[in-house]
Symmetry: C2
Subunit: 134 residues, 2 copies
DNA sequence: GTTGGTGCAAAATGTTTGCACTAAT
DNA sequence: ATTAGTGCAAACATTTTGCACCAAC
């Protein structure tokens, strides 16, 4: 259970109904959502919310590390899971799923540091065909 | 040294000047390019090439596994390196670089298979700040 | 001679921006 | 009372699509 208002305040943001509802919608959805999907989830509870607000709010939630972006060939998705995990992406239908496995990325992270980067995270994306597209 | 005409023929494609020049430009660039950058590289040698052709050609080259797409928050890039390697992405300027390190992705690949996927590849993306953005 | 490929223009998509108004502090 | 945040509309950039012409086979 995250204390959103406190987190927002810490980062200099105000608490608004939109942020609370969007955060709640995203974190209880338990799957990857597009901005459109977030809007329609939220629209049920808070009429009049606009897409720009959804994007702006997801930006904020990303800064608070409550969501992560996942860029796929077909869409920009927002992932409510803050913990590290891999993703599987279907080449055919574009579907993305969480994979319950991680890997040791110390090598690539060290490699990035060697290249002068200041790494703050790493992602694994497995591509292939999903069950229904095979 | 890849025999592009032979590869194209194998996959049922015709050999055209555009495909030869675009493949050559991309593979000698030795870095990640946007479609626009490919167009301007190619434009010097083959006037009149259009952006749709660049996209179409890169699609073909991807099918031949001569290039890979890399989706970043700011752009769609085409990577001429066919071998597996990790990428570093700068959160601030969006720059992408190759990282000379790999990791064992057997776990996530197995996880994808367990989820019903037929995996055919995997990517590692390290995010952070590049030398000039720190 | 066929049919795939290209160039052009135009469309479709998804995300971002500008601005006036509202609401959180 | 301030100033961040919102909603709306409009802009924007990028990738796709449709179609007529040309070129590879």
């Amino acid at each position: 259970m995250t204390d959103l208002p406190a987190l927002l305040r810490e980062h200099g943001y105000r608490t608004t109904a939109q942020r609370v509802v969007i955060h709640d919608a995203v974190s209880t959805a338990g799957r990857h959502l597009t901005a459109e999907q977030v809007l329609s989830l939220v629209g049920e509870r808070l009429p009049g919310v606009s897409l720009p607000t959804v994007y702006a709010t997801l930006d904020v939630l990303e800064e608070l590390e409550l969501v992560r972006r996942v860029h796929t060939p077909s869409a920009l998705l927002f992932d409510p899971r803050p913990d590290d995990h891999a993703h599987a992406l279907c080449r055919s239908c574009g579907r993305v799923e969480d994979i319950e496995a991680t890997a040791d990325l110390a090598g690539p992270i060290k490699g990035a540091r060697r290249a002068g980067y200041e790494p703050d995270g790493a992602e694994i994306l497995v591509t292939g065909l999903c069950p229904s597209c095979r």
